[in-house]
Symmetry: C2
Subunit: 453 residues, 2 copies
């Protein structure tokens, strides 16, 4: 008899109840960048854990509190879940087809800000736990949760928190906040995350805006200063121009290239989803694109602001201008190194008037693709998805996995319900109900197998 038959039935029968719980959590606009709803959301997360018999507490940091929870299980193995309860801003609001903080079911998808990243993943893990508790009355292993509230703003206090609580967080393995299937429905195992150094560059050239008819040929213009400063960071060849910026970049290993070669190309999926004419530097796809996507540092302008932005024209010479810039890092770059090289570079190029505001940084981090826990998670997917997970050595996004890898010495795997159309960080973020169910089923296998290792 299939030991998971009852578990799977439980999950199928309680899907609606889990989605209702998720809907409730998504109603709290816990936007870290805008500092709204964080305390309320943390309290609800703790309450949801207590309902499952976890001992849950809100541990203060210098920013949003961390929810820590634990419950003992049958085996003495301990699994640590890392999730976060903060979400990205919902803007631009006019592109949402339903209100971002009212989870809305349309067809086979549930839409809301955070419904995937990361509230959906958190609730989905509770859902899997519910099914095992229903069957066994106990957990197969010890489980700990760390649910932080500052992931979307660069996790500025997580490292300090983990270093202060290494004994409390002691575990044998860690499951990361997210995971997904690729465009063919194949679940993917991401074993590394790029780091990030996120900055705001700003210039102020006068104390007030001027008439552009008056000052155009004689007054300094903050928007021009910003454009020229940005232009020194990267040119159309896509090479970052900051001196020695690439000196600590470790190129992909042979094993990395071997794994990357097995990954189905996402080129066509990217082209159609984003409607882009082509990829940077003319790359066509295949392993070349897979490596370019994740094994290189990036320098991305995320936003530009200056002067008049309404309809029509306004003849104004702006005194202030700013840009948000996302620098993704690869091993062994560090945020401190990127920040310091950026400052030196701007100064050397004559842009000491450009102020750098450091908005957050995380170092890159990788798990060994040959770790036994990785293998367990990858292989156990077969029973649910029909195929094992594709192992991807490195992914473009960032998260504080390096803290867990280095401070807690844990292998870190990804497992989750995302898919290429999940629109994380974008309007109309959503989860597919079929994947929501599969993800929970997979987690019941992971927990059960892990308990026996």
């Amino acid at each position: 008899m299939d030991p998971f038959a009852g578990v799977d039935r439980y999950l199928e029968e309680h899907l609606d109840a889990s989605l209702r719980e998720l809907t409730g959590l998504c109603e709290i606009p816990s936007v870290g960048a805008q500092n709204t709803g964080l305390d309320e959301c943390a309290a609800m997360v703790a309450e949801l854990l207590r309902k499952r018999g976890f001992e849950a507490m809100l541990l203060p940091t210098d920013g949003a509190p961390v929810v820590f929870a634990e419950r003992r299980g049958r085996s003495d193995k301990t699994l640590l879940f890392y999730n976060h309860y903060d979400v990205q801003p919902a803007e631009p609001l006019d592109l949402w087809e339903s209100p971002p903080f009212e989870a809305t079911l349309r067809g086979d998808k549930l839409y809301a800000r955070g419904v995937s990243d990361d509230k959906g993943h958190f609730i989905n893990r509770l859902f899997a736990i519910d099914a095992l508790l229903d069957r066994d009355g106990e957990l197969p292993c010890n489980i700990k949760f760390v649910v932080e509230g500052e992931e979307e703003t660069g996790s500025p206090h997580l490292e300090g928190f983990v270093r202060k609580n290494t004994e409390r967080l002691a575990a044998d393995a860690c499951v990361w906040e997210f995971g997904e299937v690729d465009f063919q429905g194949v679940p993917v195992q991401y074993l590394g995350l790029r780091g990030i150094c996120y900055v705001e560059l700003s210039v102020q050239t006068a104390k007030t805006d001027a008439h552009s008819g008056l000052g155009g040929t004689i007054f300094p213009n903050a928007a021009w200063r910003l454009v020229w400063a940005l232009n020194t960071l990267k040119g159309p060849d896509e090479r970052i121009r900051i001196p020695d910026y690439y000196e600590n970049v470790i190129p992909p290993t042979e094993r990395d290239i071997e794994l990357a070669t097995k990954i189905p190309s996402r080129a066509n999926e990217y082209r159609s989803r984003y409607g882009i004419a082509g990829f940077l530097r003319g790359t066509q796809g295949g392993v070349e694109l897979s490596l370019q996507e994740v094994f290189e540092p990036s320098c991305t302008i995320c936003g530009l602001t200056a002067g008049y932005q309404g309809t029509g024209g306004k003849t104004v010479l702006p005194c202030k201008a700013s840009a948000k810039v996302d620098l993704r890092l690869v091993p062994d770059q560090t945020p401190q190194e990127a920040l310091s090289k950026l400052r030196s570079h701007l100064d050397a190029e004559g842009f000491d008037d450009v102020h750098i505001d450091f908005l957050g940084g995380i170092p890159p981090g990788r798990t060994d693709p040959d770790d036994p826990f990785v293998k367990l998670v990858v292989e156990s997917a077969k029973e649910v998805y029909g195929v094992a997970m594709d192992v991807i050595p490195m992914v473009g996004g960032s998260g504080p996995n390096a803290i867990f890898l280095e401070c807690l010495k844990l292998p870190v795997v990804t497992q989750g319900l995302g898919y290429p159309g999940t629109n994380a960080h974008a309007p109309n973020e959503n989860v597919r109900l079929d994947l929501y169910l599969k993800c929970a089923k997979h987690m019941t296998r992971i927990l059960s197998l892990f308990a026996m290792t």
Copy 2:
């Protein structure tokens, strides 16, 4: 006996009534760029003219209507006033100390959007006419008004209107929409205006924004495309890089330099008003600054927009970016020439993905500094201001004076109530009551003297 003693007394006694009329006109938010309140404002302008015995009519254009009005006077000389009833957007609203569309008296100043540019000038001319009608029961000369509603958006339909109505608009001289005193209180006569070619540059690189962790090294980024395209237009040396851009620029003549040398330097005033560290290209002041300010074409970024602009960070790769760019032109450049050279340049530099939206253009125009009407206006200022006007051969701003100069063959002078702190186009636009009164007094002299030429 002073023939203007009664006129001056009338103006002093009726100042409050004139300001009340101005307050009413400023209540209409006739923002051309946002297409609000234009018809309502045109109707009120016509009504105000009819109250003075003018025959006034609203003449349609393909945009906002032009108010045309005329009234015959004692002499057969005809003076044409050019004004406009549209105003600049009031944004940024948070910098206004009182609501922009509720004229508010604080100390010796009246604050509102349009209170100077240009509703204040229009009402002030009616005020001078009232004083002469009160004394004489008739006008000294024929007076015509052209009050358009599209000046702040580049007067796109004025040239067509003037060409279609050359007989109706026939006159002997023209008084321009604005005028001002300098920082020492000396009235200034501006005899030329730079032209303008105002464009919006926009790029779209995908159909939707992407996660900046995903796409930074492989997806095209609209903000980067815009920055690189803008960077090709002008570098930190302030020289416009568009090929042959300067070929039709006429350098200042010896007479221009002679006049410019007499102008008191505004360097210190600019430094303290705008809080700028220095002028472009290191110019210190004097005639060099005066010439650089107005006899050179400019390329000004008036606004930048892309991606996330809220507080904190959002990890997004923007699919759209745009910039507002103000190109000021000097004789004999034309807007069509600037536009065409800009397009060719962007294409040649590899930026054919940068779309140009032409938001308005006006050619530059100049009046002969030795015209008799110029002399009359300049000299008649002495009785009111204690000094003759300073003659400035060219000014940095733009307006459709070339249309009147070329189509109607009229000398065009400036006369008005502005001053360096008037904040036209900026928050807290205002008029000083003492200058409001002097301006009307000066106009009664101009009308009376002109009638006798």
